[in-house]
């Protein structure tokens, strides 16, 4: 009884460690187009430009339609766009920076 409880506890902790590690992994490798868009997104958020944000949003859509970026990449970018649209410019800027930084050394 006690052994099975300990085993469950151990498995639970192991799972937690794996989840924490996965979260800390950052952004995966992205396509050149996604990289370009994230660079533009950084400058959009840096300048807090709503007009250019709309342009970037449209660009993400068209790039997805043209299969230049994958669905998961579009999701990542749209998440940052949503942050910016919620007036969280700083956070969105940092996310775009993280996305670009995570491509270094690949």
């Amino acid at each position: 009884m006690r052994t099975s409880m300990l085993r469950k506890c151990f498995c639970g902790m192991l799972l937690m460690v794996v989840v924490v590690q996965l979260n800390a992994c950052g952004y995966p490798e992205v396509s050149p187009k996604t990289y370009e868009i994230s660079k533009a997104l950084y400058s959009v958020c840096n300048q807090k430009s709503e007009e250019r944000l709309r342009a970037v949003k449209a660009l993400i859509q068209s790039s997805l339609s043209n299969k230049e970026i994958s669905v998961s990449e579009a999701d990542m970018l749209n998440e940052i766009v949503a942050q910016a649209q919620a007036d969280e410019w700083e956070e969105a800027m940092l996310e775009s920076r993280n996305l670009m930084e995570d491509q270094a050394g690949r």
Partner: protein, 360 residues
């Protein structure tokens, strides 16, 4: 007589006791370590700031003596790419001997007169005659936070192989500080490519075409470039509002206090989707962007402040958390955020474009 018996003294700790003590010590270390590391980094930051301050003062002392700031680097001046054999003119960039950089010229003003006197500044900086002394490790050019090393390095050619000059490889002493070329750059394009595009207004994105013919001043809008002779009076944007020097950690690429060698290339030590090798001038100079009329995918000028995540070898790069130090034209040293307003960073890079500089 009563025979008193005392319990036998314990000879050691139980395993549980030891584990508890170890756990307590580990927790205390875990709590204290970040604080200790922070204190150490704060000390390193102060030292780095102090180094830039000394470089700023040395620049002004040089200006006092020579009525101008030192050139970004000294190169045989040619308007057609031709010259004597000793000049060793690079056919693409038109970089040539002697190549001594702004930082080598500051040596007498940094208590390094002995090093300066051992150099023959009338000959090429890669000359075998002073091959030993140009490898000197000079503390004022080194940021203690930089993790990429402070030992001399071997110069590389375009392919990443060792650069050979006069039959031997060239090794130079390292520097973690670079001078600003301004917004624009023309590293490899300031020679054989006779015309270039420059921004006349980063807000309207207006550009114009200029004739270069080896004259970097036609492109550069910052204080330091090939054969520059910038005076304080030229800095009409205000010396307080103009970035002169900044950091470039060896973690990204090799920079030197010695000079620029024709045919040398600076290679990034880690790759990004955008960075790659750049021409010899980036051994000692960087730029802020935008340059050459380049716009991003949405039509915004490409500007790269300190630590911009494209990690170009021609940009400033610091390992201090959150940004990097810059030395302004008035000799003051400031810590600038890596997330500084991009247009403001571009404005701070040029010496006389008439922009109104806001708070930073």
């Amino acid at each position: 007589m009563n025979n008193l018996r005392f319990p036998e003294a314990r000879r050691g700790f139980t395993l549980i006791e030891l584990l508890v003590v170890i756990a307590i010590i580990a927790t205390l270390i875990a709590l204290l370590l970040p604080a200790v590391q922070q204190a150490r980094e704060a000390a390193r930051r102060s030292q780095c700031k102090n180094h830039l301050k000394q470089l700023g003062l040395a620049l002004h002392n040089y200006h006092e003596t020579h009525s101008a700031f030192p050139a970004g680097y000294f190169s045989y001046a040619t308007s057609n790419g031709a010259g004597p054999a000793w000049a060793n003119i690079d056919p693409d960039s038109w970089d040539a001997a002697p190549g001594w950089s702004w930082s080598a010229m500051l040596l007498p003003y940094l208590d390094q007169a002995n090093v300066y006197n051992a150099l023959n500044v009338n000959s090429a900086c890669w000359d075998a005659g002073h091959a030993g002394i140009v490898q000197a490790k000079i503390p004022v050019f080194l940021c203690p936070t930089s993790s990429g090393g402070d030992e001399p390095f071997t110069l590389q050619d375009a392919t990443g192989g060792s650069l050979v000059m006069g039959g031997s490889t060239v090794r130079f002493g390292r520097s973690h500080y670079v001078a600003s070329h301004g917004q624009e750059s023309c590293w490899g394009d300031c020679g054989s490519i006779t015309t270039g595009t420059i921004f006349t207004d980063i807000y309207t994105k207006a550009t114009t075409t200029v004739t270069i013919n080896g004259d970097a001043s036609r492109v550069a809008d910052g204080p330091f470039f090939r054969n520059s002779r910038t005076k304080l009076r030229d800095i009409t944007d205000g010396s307080t509002n103009t970035v002169f020097l900044g950091e470039h950690s060896s973690k990204l690429s090799d920079k030197t206090w010695v000079g620029v060698v024709p045919g040398a290339f600076t290679h990034p030590r880690f790759s990004t989707p955008e960075n790659g090798p750049d021409a010899a001038a980036t051994l000692t100079l960087v730029h802020a962007g935008p340059s050459g009329g380049e716009l991003d995918i949405t039509g915004f000028p490409i500007i790269h402040p300190t630590n911009f995540p494209t990690f170009h070898v021609g940009q400033m790069f610091s390992e201090h958390t959150g940004g990097g130090h810059v030395c302004m034209g008035d000799g003051s040293v400031r810590f600038v955020s890596e997330n500084i307003d991009l247009l403001l960073w571009a404005e701070l890079a040029s010496i006389g474009e008439g922009e109104v500089i806001g708070e930073f």
